[in-house]
Symmetry: C2
Subunit: 207 residues, 2 copies
């Protein structure tokens, strides 16, 4: 029997599967289909949901190779693009490009809300704010679970972020405009390059 | 004579105007049209650019009242919605809802780039990442100038953000899933409300 999950974190799922399935874990293929929408429920079902979307499979040592191939065939038939990696690599990457941005967006919005001028500030917020905080509207139960399940990697990534933020704050404090422009230039260039890669289908499309 | 600027920060402009214009500062009306696009240059001109967009006027004590009304009439004729506030209130609000998000997006992207697995991470980045980092592609010279000109307010807002982030990190460390969900719930609700207000035209649309 082929068993799969479709969760956004994988190490915790693999641990639970090992614990519960025991020797039957050979039939379990952890899967993360990187697709979905804001609205849940069967009435929002969509036949094309997985078309061209990445699905990450994270088999462990005990997973049977033919089950992985079966899972790959199933997702491929649904139109998805299958990638295989370790649960550890998966969780590290998604902490960096998905879970941390959510945490930062939650923290940023909370930081605004807790100021007395919150209403005045929000009345002046525009498109940049809208895009930056779109992910702050995520489902609370789902994001509680994802952040808790992957908290080690999320906290590690948060540390990387804090170091980068401190660096920029230091440049502001010391008035080093040239160094500040250099960092923004590097980032702006990398973001444009990423955007072009993503448009060419070189990028995945995680949550 | 009516003089105006169209910069994104206002206290530094008012200071410079006082210094340079001296008694002629009465004719100077500092303005921030909250509109624009990624591409600069007259070949990208657009007659509808200010349609329904907010324009903030920040007159100082010496500004002549009839000049403010002249400026208001001009921007209104261009289709903009004029608001008047102090330069201080303007800079505080835009630090919160525009300048800080840019700083955070720059820092977040720089934090990814400085890790050895940057390429692997970026290959898995999707729509959430795309929206969160869209503002990281901003023009380096312009953002250097904005962040430097408004650095006091930006650093103050960064402090508010850091406090909120530390709070969330603490919840992750202590495994307090219920409190984490409560914060996300509050933010998610406020973000949805903001979104509806913005759609009704209640919100401005800053950069």
């Amino acid at each position: 029997m082929l068993l799969m999950d479709v969760g956004s974190t994988k190490r915790d799922v693999v641990d639970a599967a090992r614990r519960v399935l025991r020797e039957k874990v050979a039939g379990f293929v952890p899967a993360h289909p990187v697709a979905g929408k804001e609205r849940a429920g069967v009435e929002h079902a969509e036949a094309q949901l997985f078309d061209g979307r990445p699905v990450i499979l994270t088999p462990c040592n005990q997973t049977a190779v033919d089950r992985v191939e079966q899972a790959r065939a199933l997702w491929t038939a649904l139109g998805a693009e299958v990638r295989v990696m370790t649960a550890e690599a998966h969780d590290a990457a998604f902490a960096a490009v998905s879970h941390l941005p959510h945490l930062l967006s939650f923290a940023f919005f909370a930081g605004i809300l807790h100021q007395p001028q919150a209403r005045d500030f929000l009345a002046l917020a525009g498109p940049g704010f809208r895009d930056f905080t779109r992910i702050a509207a995520g489902d609370p139960a789902m994001w509680r679970d994802i952040l808790m399940a992957n908290r080690e990697e999320v906290l590690r990534q948060s540390g990387q972020f804090r170091a980068a933020l401190s660096g920029l704050e230091q440049l502001l404090k010391s008035g080093d405009a040239a160094a500040l422009a250099a960092v923004i230039h590097e980032v702006s260039l990398a973001r444009s390059r990423w955007s072009m890669d993503a448009a060419r289908g070189g990028s995945a499309g995680g949550r």
